[in-house]
């Protein structure tokens, strides 16, 4: 999977980039493979991602603008929901097997409503991050090893990581850069690993 983009550099010096609430859920796989959501892992992962993302922006000469929940309203929540849908559509179309027959160019938009975000947060771009990650519990790891030894060929799957992110121009709603992936490794629970994950996610980010 390759990052998609319509810009290589920001259209102004030191742009303000609004980080939208990171849509993240981390869970632990039980022995049988149920996905048990973990609030503490989710919280620390979210913090690690924000720190790592700010580091990236610093190298790109852009300024991170923290999302202000007090300025949130129903229309902004709808934009967040819309982004999740569009992000999944982009993955389906650009990377997946559900290609839209007539959509050849990378030209996606969240619509003009994003101006609300510009007005309320005084920012030039918004960044949306979606991440789901699973980690095997210790019991599941042991169980997997036993199964693998006893029944070669049957390997209970470990955790998988799915993530995507988009950079949205707040003047017109256009998605100017997008990247997403699915992989069976990676970790965001500690800062060191989170850096690697975020660096991978923000490959070929403008600036």
């Amino acid at each position: 999977m390759e990052p998609k983009y319509t810009i290589r550099i920001f259209d102004k010096e030191r742009p303000q980039i609004l980080l939208m609430p990171v849509d993240i859920e981390i869970c632990e796989l039980t022995i049988a493979g149920m996905c048990e959501p973990s609030a503490s892992w989710t919280q620390s992962s979210k913090e690690n991602i924000i720190i790592s993302f700010e580091e990236i922006l610093n190298t790109r000469n852009a300024i991170l603008k923290k999302y202000n929940k007090n300025k949130q309203n129903d229309e902004i929540i709808q934009l967040i929901k819309l982004h999740t849908q569009i992000g999944q559509e982009i993955i389906n179309n650009e990377y997946g097997t559900f290609e839209l027959p007539t959509k050849k160019e990378f030209n996606w938009t969240l619509g003009k409503k994003v101006k609300l975000l510009k007005q309320k947060n005084n920012s030039d771009y918004a960044i949306f991050i979606f991440l789901r990650d699973q980690y095997s519990s210790t019991e599941r790891v042991i169980y997997s090893i036993i199964t693998a030894v006893l029944f070669p060929g049957i390997i209970p799957i470990g955790g998988s990581q799915i993530a995507f992110a988009s950079l949205v121009d707040l003047n017109n709603g256009e998605i100017t850069w997008f990247n997403g992936y699915y992989r069976s490794f990676g970790d965001v629970r500690d800062l060191e690993n989170a850096r690697n994950t975020v660096n991978k996610l923000f490959e070929e980010f403008p600036g």
């Binding site: 929540i77 709808q78 036993i146 030894v149």
Partner: protein, 389 residues
């Protein structure tokens, strides 16, 4: 080698939470929130995310006043947990209500249409609050986790042990699992019923209304098709037993004639009634089932013309099906509606349009003209007039 594995498997088995949950799960206290390290906090997090989306969902009924009314009922039932539970109404025409572990309660409009009075609604709300207080989501999660873990371990354990026919045993354990799950769910329902009923009595609602809402649902289900179960009942097994229990528990309060608050509920749902009934009819359940729902809705007989009109609608929408012509039946009901009240415009409209369809043009025009005369500036005036020429 095998012995070592067997040992590890037994070790793993002991790690798996014992069935029914390792520790006894206590009731949640008012204003309690789980510690971030807990499994419960994970469940809350997921539901908080869901709730955030539900708030702006298109399926949420845009009637804050009605949601406030439901919340007030909750607070009358339990002042202690009033702050902890949020009530949302989703516009979905099935009988359903559910409680999330984080305090998000959702009631579907199909349930509101079927509740005959506030006391019945309070019975459901109290029952759902019971799920919250007794932490049933957490218990179900722990229970499912330990059962599936045990099954996974048993599956390789039996194979390693070289037990002949291990596959069959696997199937048997699966069956047993399903049975346990159902029992677990029934136990939770029973417990929530008990909590709900206590709330109902303490808030001076008529406890006799609690079994009634279930009785109605069972009757409705019997009239409907077996292959279209009402979603609420799919997860709430053994309704007959539940009615028996509720009746037994309410027996000592038989002589208390507490409040039912029929008028209060009817007033609150009145602005939506037309739409909800239309949605109910559009489900195209068996007509007997829909008629039953309508009869309960218009039980007070004050609006018999509406009951007859909507019954006509049921049969008009079914139309000609399996060589049975339901249009005559529809027309009969429309006629009865007009007999009960002769200035309700909608009935003339539907009757007229139906007559057009079956080429009774003269009568059709007469009725459509009447519709235009009775309704003041209807939105569809132009299109109806075009039919007249």
């Amino acid at each position: 080698m095998k012995k070592i594995f067997l040992f590890i498997i037994i070790f793993l088995g002991s790690c798996a939470t014992p069935i029914g949950g390792a520790k006894k799960v206590e009731d949640i206290k008012p204003q309690e929130t789980p510690s971030i390290e807990s499994i419960e906090a994970g469940l809350w997090m997921q539901m908080n995310n869901y709730e955030e989306k539900l708030k702006t969902s298109g399926s949420r009924l845009k009637d804050k006043d009605l949601e406030k009314y439901l919340k007030n009922i909750l607070c009358k039932l339990t002042i202690e947990y009033c702050k902890d539970i949020r009530v949302y109404v989703q516009d979905i025409p099935y009988f359903n209500a559910f409680m999330a572990p984080n305090g998000m309660m959702v009631v579907w409009t199909g349930l509101l249409l079927r509740a005959q009075n506030e006391a019945q609604l309070a019975a459901v709300i109290g029952h759902e609050a019971g799920h919250y207080i007794k932490r049933h989501s957490l218990k179900s999660w722990l229970d499912a986790k330990s059962r599936t873990d045990l099954m996974a371990i048993l599956a390789i354990g039996l194979s390693v042990g070289g037990i002949p026919g291990a596959g069959d045993i696997f199937n048997v354990t699966q069956l047993l699992q399903a049975g346990f799950m159902a029992k677990h769910s029934r136990d939770n329902e029973r417990e929530a019923d008990k909590v709900g009923l206590n709330f109902l009595i303490n808030a001076e609602y008529d406890p006799g209304e609690a079994p009634k809402i279930w009785e109605n649902i069972i009757k409705e289900m019997e009239l409907g098709e077996a292959n279209k179960p009402l979603s609420f009942l799919a997860s709430h097994p053994a309704p007959e037993e539940r009615i028996k229990n509720l009746k037994k528990q309410t027996k000592e309060y038989e002589n208390i004639k507490n409040k039912k608050n029929t008028k209060e509920l009817k007033e609150k749902i009145h602005p939506h009634l037309k739409k909800w009934i239309k949605n109910e009819i559009r489900l195209k359940n068996k007509p007997e089932q829909t008629e039953f729902v309508l009869e309960k809705t218009f039980e007070d007989k004050k609006n018999d013309y509406l009951l007859k009109f909507y019954k006509g609608e049921i049969y008009r929408l079914i139309g000609v099906k399996e060589e049975e012509n339901n249009y005559d039946k529809a027309i009969d009901y429309y006629d009865e509606s007009i007999k009960a009240k002769n200035d309700f415009p909608d009935v003339y409209r539907e009757l007229g349009l139906l007559q057009l369809k079956i080429e009774k043009n003269e009568e059709a025009k007469k009725n459509l003209k009447k519709y235009l005369k009775l309704s003041k500036n209807p939105q569809d005036a132009a299109i109806i007039e075009s039919y007249l020429n």
